[in-house]
Structure formats: structure tokens, C-alpha cells
């Protein structure tokens, strides 16, 4: 599966998790990586170029921090412009049919906050519903999110390296078609593949 990773982070120089994740993805063969803020610093997205890009790939991953239960503005702008009527949706829009997509996000709050009983009152996957519904409308296959909670303290607590390792394994599994897509669509999270019922993954 040809995978495309979009990074949407306005300050990669201050990023402790997203930027290393992007670098890690860049180091994997067969993964295309695009830094949206880097490529379009004035938000002038080249729609034709982007449509060409996603057409050429089978999986589209959005790597971003969670801003107000959504993504940084650039990613929304990307959706607004690139997922055009007649291209991604609508009667004649079938360019994205069947493609796989998911969000790889970093969250400020701890994992407990993202439960029906927790502070946010919902699972992360439920909060990301706009992304899921957008994918559905574009006839894409939406997978559970891959998340790091408590991201601001991850480096201090030594959780960043394990997360990066898991991220690499996930991308390689995706690339090599070793990911159980059906299970990944049904899961709550892509983290801890075994627990989520996703095909068992060996470190590649």
C-alpha cells in the first residue's frame, strides 16, 4: 500500500512528538511525507497538485496535534480546497473510493480524559467524528486514530521513544499490507495493535 503522511503542525521547531514522528516516517522507504505548513506557508494550497498526490496513494495519514478537538487550521483548509465536489464526493467524485485514512494525533490531556466518564466525556475516536464522516462521504475506509496522550510530558516520562517505535511498526505494516483493515476500522484506537484486535505485528 502506498502511504502518504501529511504533517499539519504550525511550529515544527517547537514540536517534541509530531516533528520526530514526521522524521521517522521520512526515514521509511515507500512512505511519502508532506509538511503542509512548510509547503504552503501562506495557506495557498495548490489544489491540482494535492489531488494528484492523493490519487497516487492508497493510504492517507494525517499527522497533527489535537487543536480544539480537531486539527490545526491548515488541515481544515486542505480539506476545504482539495476534497472538491466532483473529485472526492458528489455524483462524479470517485477519486478516493476505497482509500484508507486515519489520524495520528497527539493530545494534551491524559488518556483517562478521553472516556465517556472522563473530562472530555467521549472517546478520542468519537471526538474525531468530523474526520470519519468526511472519509465516509468520500467513500474512504476510516481507521481508528493512532494517539499519544499527555503529549506535553511524554519526553520527560520517556514515553516518546516507545511511541515512535510503535509508529514505525504501524507504518511499515500499513505499507506491507500486513494490517488487518477490518479490525483497525472497528477498533477504538490503533495503539497496542494486539489489544485492539488488529493483526499481531512483529517489529519490522
Amino acid at each position: 500500500m502506498k502511504a502518504l503522511v501529511y504533517l499539519a503542525h504550525p511550529r515544527p521547531d517547537r514540536s517534541e512528538i509530531n516533528a520526530p514522528m514526521f522524521e521517522a516516517a521520512r526515514g521509511i522507504e515507500g512512505i511519502t511525507c508532506v509538511d503542509l505548513y512548510g509547503e504552503y506557508p501562506s495557506f495557498e494550497i495548490d489544489v491540482d497538485h494535492e489531488q494528484q498526490r492523493i490519487t497516487e496513494h492508497d493510504a492517507i495519514v494525517f499527522l497533527h496535534p489535537l487543536y480544539w478537538y480537531s486539527a490545526p487550521a491548515m488541515l481544515k483548509e486542505w480539506q476545504d480546497l482539495v476534497l472538491e465536489h466532483g473529485f472526492a464526493y458528489g455524483h462524479a467524485g470517485h477519486a478516493l473510493d476505497g482509500k484508507v485514512t486515519f489520524n495520528a494525533v497527539t493530545c494534551g490531556a491524559a488518556a483517562e480524559a478521553y472516556t465517556p466518564e472522563g473530562a472530555n466525556g467521549a472517546h478520542l475516536r468519537d471526538l474525531l467524528m468530523p474526520f470519519e464522516k468526511t472519509a465516509d462521504l468520500c467513500r474512504m475506509r476510516y481507521l481508528a486514530p493512532f494517539a499519544l496522550f499527555g503529549a506535553g510530558r511524554a519526553v520527560e516520562e520517556g514515553r516518546d521513544q516507545p511511541h515512535l517505535a510503535e509508529w514505525r511498526t504501524l507504518l511499515k505494516a500499513l505499507r506491507d499490507d500486513r494490517l488487518d483493515i477490518a479490525a483497525a476500522r472497528a477498533a477504538l484506537s490503533l495503539n497496542g495493535f494486539k489489544a485492539a484486535g488488529v493483526a499481531k505485528l512483529e517489529a519490522v
Binding site: E44, V47, L81, E84, H85, Y89, G90, H91
Partner: protein, 638 residues
């Protein structure tokens, strides 16, 4: 042989020997020294006039000190204080004490021993800086350490010159009246007022007053530099005559040297101070560029005279003793440096570079021998062999550098971990031309915390900028030497922002050719100038009026009633199309003028743009609003 003919012989020797020495990897200094040895002691072409020419050539040392002074901004000195006082101060003190002790053992009087210790503790700024620069070793930890030590040594000359007269109080009788023959024996001994026969102001003063006078004169130079010299340079700069500025720079250096000679002080000390005083002035780079060639040539001449002045008779009379003395001196200094280097965290190759590179005695020795002889501290029986020893250590230095490069450095790198190099502060930026365009760019970069060196040839602009706190330097940015001294070889980015279209292209061409590693951004007059600059080697050329005009076009649309965001979108569409046109027309453009294919392509592009904008006005599918238009009504799948 008259002076002109002798000068010719010197130049011929230099022109042959120096490129040869450089080709063989020996460095220019050894080339000059060898040239001197060949025309002097070996061939005997020159002889008696060596001393006369050396008086003249020592001006190279004077100018070098002026340039070293120019490099020493007080702020930088303050930043380096730990290195200067610790590493440099301990090197001078340690070497001086040990050398003095050794001299005492050889039976030299204590005053003379102390003088010898101080004199020989100094290393050769000229040789070491030149060699480190040529071999690209300046940015290494060893190179930086060496620079700190050399700097301390250059400064230490000041207290040494002040101390010398005091040492003379009990020295050899009849010496310090300046007429004693102690100063006449050594080739370099009498260059500085003493021993010329003419009594100087200094000789009439009692010894304690001499020390006071030294301090008074130093203070005078500092005050005059602040209050008189800078306004004078401003006045001269406003005349905009390059050669007059050069003349003024030379006048300043020669004037100070003469003044110092008159009072009987070291001209090198005076010009050094003048350099420090002018180091944070806006004329620094221009002064540097003007003096540099004179310095280089005279310093070369100086080294030739050192080579030519080597007394082979004396050397042959006691070769083992003198060479042994030279080797002993170097071993002693290298030992002190090695211990200090270890203490200050230098390891591996850097420690070797530091201790071997600075082990020689310096050109200041010749100057200070003269001073000491004049003051009657050292006699000819000491100065004559010691001059030879100093020259020998200088001759040996390039060999030590070769030993370092070929043997020690490769081995040290292999066996010891090198500490990671310090990360340079984001790389420096040079902006040429601080007019309407350059000023905005510079302000943006400076307020974002970047180091920017600005060059401009309008004294008034420079003056105004320095009033509001910008560091700008006066000078014609199209001068290759000025670009060099502005530090272009270490710059990351060069921004050419000259007003004059032709000069701008010429400048870009020169920089692209001379400094291929520097990224060049250039301000372009118009579309054709963009192509011209690109051809000259610019990595990026922006039409100076383009973005501003776009903004005004957008504002115009808003003013006549467009929604601001719509006007912004229109300006973006226009910009993108115009950029495409710029790319599309590049091939059809040639310097001779516009060809038919260019005009055709231009026409086609305007037509497209017109269609595009027309579509913008009426069509339902609006490119500039793409994605912000609602989906068509009645799509069954929605």
C-alpha cells in the same frame, strides 16, 4: 645597491618563492623566509641595506597591529575575557617566567632575563594567523584557543613596553641614553626611535616619568580616536573618493607611527590602540580593506628581511648551540601550552595544534629587542644570537604545522573522540546596499535576532542607521576586498540590494564566482533584470516593486467595493500567474534584447491572464475561489 634595486630583488624573490612554497604546502610565511635566506646569506645579492629595508618593512607589523586592533571590539573582548585572562594570561606569564629562569641559569642578569622572558613568551601572530587561515583551522577548538592566546599576547605588549624602561634602571650603564651601541648590532634592533641618534622626547624624561608618559599617550590616543578621528573620516567619506579614503587610512597609520616615534614609543602599540578605538566605528571594514594589501606586502618584506638578515657566520660559529637554543625554546613553550591546553579542555588534535602552532617566538621579538636595546636592558652579545634563535623558531614553525597535519592530526582524530563543534549562530548574513529595499530586509532579519553585516556607500544613510542602533559599515559593496573583509566566505546568505541596476548585476556576478558556497538573493529592477541576475548567479531574484504593487492592487479592489478576502484571492491568482509567466518566458529571453519568440510568448501569457480574470468576473467556476464555492444544487449523492 640602491634602495629601488634592492626592492626589486626582494619582490622577485617573493614572487618566485611564495607561490612555490604554497604549492608545496609550506605556507606563505616560510616562502618569504626562504626567499630571504636565498637572496641574503646564500646568494649574497642583498646585504648591507637589509637593515634599512627592515625599518621600512616593520611597517608591516605596525599595520598588522592596526588590523588586529580593528578586529577587537570591546564587547568581543569582554565576551572572551575568561579565555584571554586564563588561557592567554597564563601562557604569557608561565612562558615568561620559565624562559627568564632559563636565562638566569645561563648567567644573564635578572633584568635582562626578565626582558628576554617577556619578549620570547610572545608567539608570531603573523605566522600563526596566516597559517591557520590558509589551512582552514581557524574554527577548530585549537584554532580558537590559539587566537585567544595571540590576542592576549598582542595586548600584553602594552604593559611590556611600559615595564621595559623600569627594568633599565639598574641595567648596563650607558645603555638607556639611546646612543649606546647595544642597539646597532642586531638587524632589527634600532627601528623604533632609539638608536637612530636623534634624541627623542622620552630620553629627556626620568625613568618613572617614562612609565607615566606611556599611560598618558595611550589615553590620548583613545580620546582622540573617539572625538577627532571618526568625524574626520566621516568628512572624507562624504567626498566619495575611494583613493582619498585609502590615503586617509594610510595617513592615520603613518601619522600615529610618526608620533609614537617622536615620543619614543612603539608605533605598533600606537596603531594597535587606534585600531581598537576604531573597531566599533562604521568605517571599520573600509579601513581594513584599505590597509590590508599594504600590510600583506610589507609583512612579506619583513619576513624576507628576517630571512636575509640571518647571520650565517654567527650560526656556523656555533650551530649546535644556537639550533639547540631554538629547539629548547620551542620545547619549553610547547610544554607550557600543552599543559594549559589540557587544563582548558583541549583534547587530541586540537591540543597538538594549540601547543605546536604557538611554540615559536614572534615578530614582536625583533621590535622589542630594538626597544630593549635602546633602553639599555639587553646588549648586542645577547640580542645578536637571540635574533637568530627567533628567526630559527619561525623557520621551524611551518615544519611543525606539517608534522601536525600529516602525522599528529590524523592519528589523534582516530584515537580520541572529538567534542562536537559548537553550532554557529544560524550563520551570518551580509546585506549590500541599505536603501529603501535593503533597509526593510535588514530590519526584519535583525529584529528576528540575526547577525547582519550591512554595507553601503552613503555616509549619511550609515550615520542615520547607526543613530537608531543598526550596525552598518561604510564602503563600496562592489569592491572585492570589502566583501572579503565583511566576512563573505563565512556568510550563509548574501543579499544584494543595490539601487544601481548595472552595479547590482556586476556584484551578483562577482559574489557568485568568488564565493560559490554563499546563497545569493538579489533585488531586481524588473522582469528582465530577474533573468539577468539569475544568469549572473543569483539563487533568487525578486522584482522590488512586485509585491508592493500587488498589495496596492488588492487595496484598490477593496476600495472600490470588493470583499477584502475576494480582493486578496484575486491578487494571489495574479501573483501565481505572473510567476508562471516569469518561468515560462525565461527560455525565450536573451541578453541581447527581446526576440520575436519572447514577444509571442509574452502575448500568449497576457491573453491567458486576461481570460483568467474574465472568468473570475463572470464564470461560475472561479479559480481564485476554488473550494469556497458551494457544490452544485441537485447532486443526487448529497
Amino acid at each position: 645597491m640602491d634602495l629601488l634595486a634592492a626592492g626589486f630583488v626582494y619582490l622577485v624573490a617573493a614572487v618566485i618563492a611564495v607561490p612555490l612554497a604554497k604549492r608545496l604546502g609550506l605556507g606563505s610565511v616560510l616562502g618569504y623566509l626562504i626567499a630571504g635566506v636565498v637572496i641574503g646569506p646564500v646568494l649574497g645579492v642583498v646585504g648591507g641595506e637589509t637593515v634599512d629595508i627592515q625599518h621600512f618593512a616593520e611597517f608591516g607589523v605596525v599595520m598588522m597591529l592596526f588590523l588586529v586592533g580593528l578586529e577587537l571590539q570591546p564587547a568581543m573582548l569582554w565576551r572572551m575575557r575568561a579565555q584571554l585572562l586564563g588561557l592567554g594570561g597564563m601562557q604569557v606569564l608561565g612562558s615568561a617566567v620559565l624562559i627568564a629562569a632559563a636565562a638566569l641559569v645561563f648567567g644573564v642578569a635578572w633584568q635582562a632575563s626578565l626582558a628576554l622572558g617577556m619578549i620570547l613568551a610572545l608567539s608570531s601572530t603573523a605566522i600563526v594567523l596566516q597559517t591557520l587561515g590558509e589551512k582552514g583551522l581557524m574554527p577548530t577548538a585549537g584554532g580558537k584557543g590559539s587566537f585567544s592566546v595571540l590576542l592576549t599576547q598582542d595586548i600584553a605588549v602594552i604593559p611590556m613596553l611600559a615595564l621595559m624602561p623600569l627594568l633599565a634602571v639598574n641595567a648596563v650603564a650607558g645603555g638607556h641614553d639611546g646612543h649606546g651601541d647595544s642597539g646597532h648590532g642586531a638587524p632589527a634592533a634600532d627601528a623604533h626611535g632609539h638608536g637612530h641618534g636623534a634624541p627623542t622626547l622620552f630620553d629627556t624624561l626620568p625613568d618613572w616619568a617614562q612609565a607615566v608618559a606611556v599611560l598618558l599617550i595611550i589615553g590620548g590616543i583613545i580620546v582622540a580616536g573617539r572625538t577627532v578621528i571618526r568625524p574626520v573620516f566621516r568628512f572624507i567619506a562624504e567626498a566619495r573618493l575611494r583613493e582619498i579614503f585609502t590615503a586617509a587610512a594610510l595617513m592615520l597609520v603613518i601619522g600615529i607611527a610618526l608620533l609614537m616615534n617622536y615620543v619614543g614609543l612603539s608605533p605598533a602599540l600606537g596603531t594597535f590602540l587606534a585600531g581598537v578605538v576604531l573597531s566599533d566605528s562604521e568605517y571599520r571594514h573600509e579601513l581594513e580593506s584599505d590597509i590590508e594589501p599594504f600590510k600583506g606586502l610589507l609583512l612579506g618584506l619583513f619576513f624576507i628581511t628576517v630571512g636575509a638578515g640571518i647571520d650565517f657566520q654567527l650560526l656556523l660559529s656555533n650551530p649546535v648551540g644556537l639550533v639547540g637554543l631554538a629547539l629548547g625554546l620551542m620545547a619549553l613553550k610547547a610544554g607550557v601550552l600543552y599543559v594549559l591546553g589540557t587544563g582548558f579542555g583541549l583534547r587530541g588534535a586540537d591540543r597538538w595544534l594549540f601547543s605546536l602552532g604557538l611554540a615559536q617566538a614572534g615578530e614582536f621579538a625583533f621590535v622589542l629587542f630594538g626597544f630593549a636595546a635602546g633602553a639599555g636592558i639587553l646588549g648586542a652579545e645577547v640580542i645578536k644570537p637571540m635574533t637568530l634563535v627567533v628567526a630559527l623558531t619561525m623557520l621551524l614553525t611551518p615544519l611543525l604545522f606539517i608534522l601536525y597535519e600529516k602525522v599528529l592530526a590524523p592519528r589523534a582524530v582516530r584515537t580520541e573522540d572529538r567534542a562536537a563543534d559548537e553550532i554557529d549562530e544560524a550563520g551570518s548574513i551580509v546585506v549590500a546596499g541599505i536603501g529603501r529595499v535593503g533597509q526593510i530586509i535588514t530590519r526584519m532579519l535583525v529584529t528576528n535576532g540575526h547577525k547582519v553585516t550591512v554595507l553601503d556607500h552613503d555616509p549619511e544613510t550609515i550615520e542615520n542607521l547607526s543613530r537608531i542602533g543598526f550596525r552598518a559599515y561604510y564602503g563600496d559593496a562592489t569592491r572585492p576586498d570589502l566583501l572579503h573583509s565583511a566576512g563573505l566566505e563565512d556568510a550563509k546568505l548574501f543579499i544584494a540590494a543595490l539601487d544601481d541596476r548595472e552595479k547590482q548585476t556586476e556584484l551578483v556576478h562577482h559574489v557568485a564566482k568568488t564565493y560559490p558556497q554563499v546563497t545569493i538573493h538579489a533585488r531586481a529592477h524588473d522582469r528582465h533584470h530577474v533573468y539577468e541576475l539569475e544568469r549572473a548567479g543569483a539563487h533568487l531574484a525578486q522584482r522590488e516593486t512586485f509585491e508592493g504593487a500587488l498589495a496596492m492592487g488588492r487595496d484598490a479592489m477593496t476600495a472600490i467595493g470588493y470583499h477584502p478576502f475576494r480582493a486578496e484571492a484575486a491578487s494571489r491568482t495574479f501573483r501565481n500567474h505572473d510567476r508562471e509567466a516569469l518561468d515560462g518566458l525565461r527560455e525565450s529571453w536573451n541578453e541581447g534584447g527581446v526576440s520575436k519568440s519572447y514577444i509571442d510568448a509574452m502575448r500568449a501569457h497576457s491573453q491567458t491572464l486576461f481570460e483568467l480574470m474574465k472568468a473570475d468576473r463572470h464564470d461560475t467556476h472561479d479559480r481564485s475561489e476554488r473550494g469556497w464555492t458551494p457544490p452544485p444544487k441537485g447532486d443526487a449523492s448529497l
